[in-house]
C-alpha cells in the first residue's frame, strides 16, 4: 500500500490555506493517520441513534468531497475531478449503507465499528487482488479515513515521540493539537502540513498568531511523506510540494523574498488608518467563528468584528448551548475588543449546516429550506435564549446583532418584536439593557427588491455576497457543471449591491459586505466604489485590503464603479476593471495573486489534490 520511499518523485498537494507564508524545509513527520476504532455493543434502543449518526457522517463526508471536487475542477480541470464522483458513488453505495445499517441494527455494533468492519473487509479484498484493482484500495481508504474522522470526532490521541533536533522543520502529520504545537521549541517549527482541519481549526489560529505558515486539510499527505523529505509549504495558497524540482525551488525562493519584504511592509500597515488617499474612512473588520479568534484579529489591523458566526457554538454537540454559556462566549469577544464594534450574526443553521441538537429533517432543497431566521422564528425557544445571551453580553455597548436570510419586512418585524420581548423580560429580572444596534443580512434577492422598506426598520445592513450571488444567479457553487456561472461581478450583482447601498445611505445607515468577495482585491475596489462602508473578511487578508484602500482615490473609485454599472455582461465588467486596476494591483505586489495561476498546465496535471495519487488522462 505504501509508496516506495526510495523513489523521489515530485508530488503536489492542495489543502486549505490556514496561515500565510512560504517555507522550503525538511519534513518532520509527527503522526501518521492512525485511527483507533473501539468496538462496543450498543443497547437495542440506541440503534436508531447510531444509524442516524452514521447517516450524518455520510452527509458530512459527502459535502467534503463535493467541495474537493469543486476545488479540483478549478485547480486541475474537470477530468481530474471525476475521481470524486466515484468517491461519492462509493460513499452512497446502497450495499455499503445497507450493510453498515444492518451491522448496527442486527448485530448491535456502534456506528464507527460497524463502518470499520465493512470497509476493512472490502479494502482487504481489493488489496488481495492485482494490478489497477489493488490501487483502488486507496480510494476506499480515503473514504474510510474521512468517515472515521467524523464518526470518531476528535477522539484521536497521538503520542509525540521525539523532540526536534534539526535546524528547523515543517511538521507533517495527521493532526496536531495546539498543546502539541506549543510543546515544540519556538523557532524550530517553520511550518505545518496537516491532513485534517481547516482555516478555523484551533491550530490554524495559533499558527497565524505565531506567524507560522500552515496548510491544513491535506487528506492523506502524512501517508506519503517521511521525516527528512524536502518540502515546499505555501500557506498563502494552500499548496504543499514534496521533493520539489529546481524550478519550484527557485520560484519559491523568489516568493519568500517578496513575501518577507511585503510582510514587513504590510505590518507597517497594521497601525495605519484604513482611509483612501482622499480621506474616506473604510472600516475593515474580521470574520470569526470562535471567540478564541478575537485575540488575533487586532494584530492583523482589524477595526472590529464584522461577522461572528454564532452557529459554531451550536455545532458538534447533542444539546443546545445554554444562555449563560452563550453569553460568556459573546462577552469574551465584546469585552476583549471593547471599544471596537462586534457584530454577531444570530444562529444561521440549516442549509448545509445541520445541528444535532435540533430535529432537522433532511430536505430536498435545504438551501431554500428551513434555515437561519426561518428556523429561529419557528423555534422561538432557541432564538430567545440566544437574544437574551446577546443582550447580557452587550453591556459594554459595542455589540451589534444581525439577522441572517431576511427575505421580507415581516421577518424583520417579528425578530425585533421577539428581541424587544426579551429586553422587557430581562429588565424585569433586573438586568440592565444596553443599546444594541439591530441589522439585517441582505442575501436574498427579494430583500434587495424591498430594500428601502427594510432599511427603514434596521440600524445597519450587511450584504452576504456568497448567498446573494448564489440566489440571484440561481447557481449552486458546489455543482461543478455550473460552478463557472457563479460570477461575483455579474451586472445583476453589481446593481443589487448598488440598490442596497443607496437605500441604506438614504436612511443614514451603514452597509458592510462580509462574503468572500470582500477579500478579493479587484472586488474590493469595485465594492469600495459602489459605496460600501465596511468590509469584513478573514483577518489575515485585512492588511492587504488596507493597502489597496490606502492606494486609491475614493472619488476615482466611485467613478470607475459607476462606469462598471453600465455594462451589460460580466466579461465586459471584468475586462474594464482589469484595465483600470490591474496595473495598480501589480504595483502593490499583492501576494494572493501569485502561484496558483502561475503553474503551467503540465504542472497542474500533476496536482494531487487532497492526497489523491490518482493519475488521470495520458
Amino acid at each position: 500500500m505504501k509508496m516506495p520511499h526510495n523513489v523521489k518523485q515530485r508530488k503536489m498537494f492542495v489543502g486549505k490555506a490556514a496561515s500565510p507564508g512560504y517555507v522550503i524545509a525538511k519534513t518532520k513527520l509527527i503522526v501518521r493517520q492512525r485511527f483507533t476504532v473501539s468496538p462496543f455493543k450498543i443497547p437495542k434502543e440506541s440503534a436508531a441513534n447510531q444509524i442516524e449518526f452514521f447517516r450524518r457522517g455520510v452527509a458530512q463526508v459527502k459535502r467534503e468531497i463535493l467541495n474537493l471536487r469543486d476545488l479540483t475542477i478549478q485547480m486541475a480541470g474537470r477530468e481530474e475531478a471525476q475521481i470524486f464522483d466515484s468517491h461519492l458513488m462509493i460513499l452512497q453505495d446502497p450495499s455499503l449503507i445497507d450493510s453498515v445499517i444492518s451491522l448496527i441494527r442486527d448485530e448491535q455494533w456502534n456506528a464507527s465499528y460497524a463502518f470499520h468492519l465493512f470497509m476493512q473487509k472490502l479494502i482487504e479484498n481489493f488489496e488481495n487482488s492485482k494490478g489497477i484493482f489493488k490501487e483502488r484500495a486507496l480510494d476506499l481508504k480515503d473514504i474510510y479515513n474521512r468517515m472515521l474522522l467524523h464518526l470518531n470526532s476528535g477522539e484521536n490521541n497521538f503520542v509525540l515521540q521525539e523532540e526536534i533536533e534539526e535546524e528547523g522543520v515543517v511538521l507533517a502529520g495527521f493532526s496536531i493539537g495546539p498543546n502539541m504545537l506549543m510543546n515544540f521549541n519556538k523557532g524550530k517549527v517553520l511550518g505545518l502540513a496537516i491532513d485534517s482541519g481547516s482555516a478555523t481549526s484551533h491550530v490554524s489560529i495559533l499558527a497565524r498568531s505565531m506567524q507560522i505558515p500552515a496548510v491544513l486539510g491535506l487528506g492523506n499527505l502524512s501517508e506519503l511523506i517521511n521525516t527528512g523529505d524536502l518540502l515546499i509549504l505555501d500557506g498563502t495558497n494552500g499548496i504543499v510540494i514534496i521533493d520539489p524540482d529546481e524550478n519550484d525551488i527557485s520560484k519559491y525562493k523568489k516568493q519568500i523574498e517578496v513575501f518577507q519584504n511585503q510582510k514587513l511592509e504590510l505590518f507597517t500597515m497594521r497601525d495605519l488608518e484604513p482611509i483612501t488617499m482622499d480621506g474616506k474612512y473604510i472600516r475593515l473588520s474580521a470574520n470569526i467563528e470562535r471567540y478564541e479568534e478575537a485575540g488575533e484579529i487586532t494584530s492583523f489591523g482589524a477595526t472590529g468584528v464584522g461577522l461572528y458566526r454564532s452557529e459554531f457554538l451550536y455545532f458538534g454537540r447533542d444539546s443546545l448551548p445554554t444562555r449563560s454559556e452563550q453569553a460568556e462566549a459573546y462577552r469574551k469577544v465584546s469585552h476583549q475588543l471593547d471599544p471596537l464594534p462586534v457584530t454577531i450574526r444570530t444562529l444561521d443553521a440549516g442549509g448545509d449546516k445541520m445541528l444535532s441538537s435540533v430535529n432537522m429533517e433532511s430536505e430536498s432543497n435545504p438551501f431554500m429550506g428551513w434555515r437561519s431566521i426561518r428556523l429561529c422564528l419557528d423555534r422561538k425557544d432557541i432564538f430567545r435564549e440566544q437574544l437574551k445571551a446577546l443582550i447580557e453580553a452587550g453591556d459594554r455597548g459595542n455589540l451589534k446583532v444581525m439577522f441572517p436570510m431576511i427575505s421580507s419586512v415581516s421577518e424583520i418585524e417579528k425578530a425585533k418584536e421577539i428581541y424587544n420581548d426579551c429586553c422587557t423580560e430581562l429588565k424585569a429580572e433586573g438586568i440592565p439593557i444596553p443599546k444594541i444596534e439591530l441589522g439585517a443580512m441582505i442575501e436574498i434577492p427579494s430583500a434587495v427588491m424591498i430594500i428601502e422598506e427594510i432599511a427603514k426598520r434596521v440600524d445597519f445592513l450587511s450584504i452576504g455576497t456568497n448567498d446573494l450571488i448564489q440566489f440571484t444567479l440561481a447557481v449552486d457553487r458546489s455543482n461543478g457543471k455550473i460552478a463557472s456561472m457563479y460570477e461575483p461581478h455579474h451586472p445583476a450583482i453589481l446593481r443589487s449591491i448598488k440598490m442596497v447601498v443607496d437605500a441604506a445611505h438614504k436612511e443614514g445607515i451603514s452597509v458592510s459586505v462580509c462574503g468572500e468577495m470582500a477579500a478579493d482585491p479587484l472586488s474590493t475596489l469595485l465594492l469600495l466604489g459602489l459605496g460600501v462602508d465596511e468590509f469584513s473578511m478573514v483577518s489575515w487578508c485585512i492588511m492587504e485590503c488596507k493597502k489597496i484602500i490606502r492606494s486609491v482615490n475614493y472619488d476615482e473609485a466611485r467613478a470607475i464603479s459607476a462606469e462598471a454599472l453600465k455594462f451589460s455582461d460580466t466579461d465586459s465588467i471584468n475586462n474594464f476593471l482589469r484595465k483600470k486596476y490591474s496595473q495598480k494591483i501589480r504595483n502593490l505586489g499583492i501576494s494572493s495573486f501569485v502561484t496558483t495561476q502561475e503553474f503551467s498546465s503540465s504542472d497542474r496535471a500533476l496536482v494531487r489534490v487532497d492526497g489523491q495519487i490518482e493519475r488521470v488522462g495520458s
Partner: protein
C-alpha cells in the same frame, strides 16, 4: 427481460470510473439491472458490487435487464462498452 452480453474493451478493465459509468446508467433505469460475471450475479446499481468482481480487460459480462426501459438501458450500456468507457481515446 433482456440479456445483453458485452466485452470489456478498455485497457484497464472495470475499475472505479468505468464502474461509475455503469452505475450512472443503471441508476437512471426503472428496470432492474444485474450483471453476471464468472458465475456471480450482482446489482449493477452498486459500484462496490461491480468493483468487487474485479472484471479484467477482455472479459465478457452479461447484463440482465428487466423492466419498462430495458431496451433503452441495454442500448446505453452497449454504447458505453463500445466506446471503451470513454477512456482510451488518446
Amino acid at each position: 427481460m433482456i440479456s445483453c452480453k458485452l466485452t470489456v474493451q478498455n485497457s484497464l478493465g472495470i475499475h472505479v470510473r468505468p464502474a461509475g459509468h455503469i452505475v450512472n446508467i443503471a441508476s437512471s433505469a426503472h428496470s432492474t439491472v444485474e450483471l453476471v460475471y464468472s458465475g456471480q450475479r450482482v446489482n449493477a446499481k452498486s459500484i462496490l458490487n461491480l468493483m468487487m468482481l474485479v472484471i479484467e480487460p477482455g472479459s465478457e459480462v452479461e447484463f440482465i435487464i428487466n423492466g419498462s426501459d430495458e431496451k433503452k438501458i441495454a442500448d446505453e450500456l452497449t454504447e458505453l462498452f463500445n466506446n471503451k468507457f470513454y477512456e482510451d481515446a488518446s
